[in-house]
């Protein structure tokens, strides 16, 4: 199980959003499992091709994931995963 935390900004679209514990071996597997908890949440994180959206970041513990296209970064038990919005906009 990994511990998953979400950017506060996502609560606007998912008011019931809260930290979750999810079984996943890779970031890709984790993102796919989000939709089972929150309808279409994965589409806020990745685009049609499954690539991480340009202005979204995923951290595993304190490290940004390295594979933004394939999300192949490996997860270990009790990792802390953070779905964050990038600092951008205006």
């Amino acid at each position: 199980m990994v511990e998953v935390n979400f950017a506060t900004a996502l609560s606007r679209f998912y008011p019931s959003l809260k930290p979750e514990s999810i079984e996943a071996n890779t970031v890709k597997e984790l993102v796919a499992k989000l939709d089972g908890l929150y309808d279409n949440l994965s589409q806020y994180i990745v685009d049609d091709a499954g690539q991480l959206r340009k202005h979204v970041n995923i951290f595993v513990n304190n490290e940004m994931i390295s594979d933004r296209k394939g999300l192949t970064d490996v997860l270990s038990h009790s990792d802390k995963v953070y779905f964050m919005q990038a600092l951008s906009g205006g």
């Binding site: 679209f13 279409n40 806020y44 685009d47 049609d48 091709a49 979204v56 919005q85 906009g89």
Partner: protein, 355 residues
């Protein structure tokens, strides 16, 4: 009550008109760019396309005229589809929404046309996407090609047009089973062969409600009109006047010879001509143009008007600008009133009657 629904960079603003005054009734999606708005004349549903900076393109639908909204999962490009070799096709923008027969159609960047049916399914129009020319379409202002115009024959919904920046105008007569380019007479001055059938840059195409064979096109390279349903386009820009470059065009509901454009300085500048806001109207099919300026700013004006930001309903016209000004005319553009000077950048303006 009459409404004016204004999609902006910071939300969907609904203005209402009472006692000859417009006032802001409701702000929806505050802070979120609204790229398109559509009120479905068949179901009464309101659709809003959102262009989140962070979270991607989203679709919202309201069944109670904007009182409440539900998110509809946006169309997705099928796995493995490519814009061009090695570049995955992913939804970047929803630029056009229109009712076509029993479906609602969505024109998108990077060039896919999706239909939405009663089973709540989006389907990519394959015949258009699979056109051999499609991988040669390219972006004009946007990174990739996009469909911004969907023009439907009111007497035959199997016959409709789309316009693509940059590719040109395409017509189907069989409900989207096949598509034919309709770009004869257009000139793309930015191409080695300006008369190329593919690669034209229509900024907006509209049909005359009074005669569907009459199409108006504000193009990157001037203004065009067709009187034969797109078979041929005639160049009708003003020779020594401002009516030439621009994005928006509006057609009279009753007179196929009358239309309005809102000029700007050419593509690399993109400001109001001579720093003065001007609407141009033709009443003779583009042979001559009349400048309409009364009530519009005539100094220090940098505004231009994007393609979906100009609407007409009967005698009434309204447009919103890139610098957040919103103007309204009740007399076919002869006089203009300022509705607001303090809006975000405007992306779409639509009149609505609430009966």
């Amino acid at each position: 009550m009459k409404l004016m629904c204004v999609g902006t960079r910071k939300g969907l603003l609904v203005f209402g008109r009472e006692k000859n005054q417009w006032s802001l009734q409701k702000t929806n999606f505050q802070g979120i760019p609204v790229s398109q708005f559509f009120a479905d004349p068949v179901t009464g549903d309101w659709w809003a396309a959102l262009d989140h900076g962070h979270w991607g393109v989203k679709l919202q639908r309201s069944k109670d005229r904007g009182e409440s909204w539900e998110e509809i999962a946006a169309p997705k490009y099928p796995e493995g589809e490519e814009i061009r070799d090695g570049v995955p096709a992913t939804l970047a923008y929803i630029w056009a929404i229109e009712r076509v027969g029993d479906k609602v159609y969505f024109g998108t960047d990077p060039g896919g046309l999706f239909s939405y049916d009663e089973e709540n399914q989006f389907t990519l129009n394959r015949p258009l996407w699979d056109l051999p020319s499609r991988k040669k379409w390219f972006g004009g202002g946007r990174d990739n090609a996009g469909i911004h115009s969907i023009v439907v024959n009111p007497e035959d919904s199997k016959n409709f047009y789309i316009a693509v920046s940059c590719a040109g105008v395409f017509e189907t007569k069989d409900g989207g089973e096949s598509w034919v380019p309709k770009n004869k007479g257009l000139r793309a001055d930015f191409l080695p062969d300006p008369t190329s059938e593919i690669g034209q840059d229509p900024h907006l195409v509209v049909a005359s409600p009074a005669d569907f064979k009459v199409l108006w096109q504000q193009n990157h390279c001037g203004i065009y009109r067709s009187v034969d349903a797109g078979a041929n386009w005639d160049f009708i820009s003003e020779k020594d006047g401002p009516a030439d470059f621009g994005f928006a065009v509006a057609a009279s509901e009753t007179d196929p010879d009358t239309a309005w454009v809102i000029p700007g300085v050419s593509d690399e500048v993109r400001t109001a001509v001579d720093g003065k806001m001007c609407v141009c109207r033709t009443n003779d099919g583009g042979k001559t143009w009349t400048q309409l300026r009364t009530g519009l700013p005539q100094e220090n004006c940098f505004d231009i008007v994007y393609r979906h930001c100009f609407d007409i309903q009967g005698q009434e016209l309204a447009f919103g600008t890139t610098t957040g000004n919103l103007f309204y005319s009740s007399d076919l553009g002869d006089h203009w009133d300022t509705v607001s000077n303090y809006l975000p950048m405007v992306y779409v303006v639509k009149f609505l009657d609430l009966d």
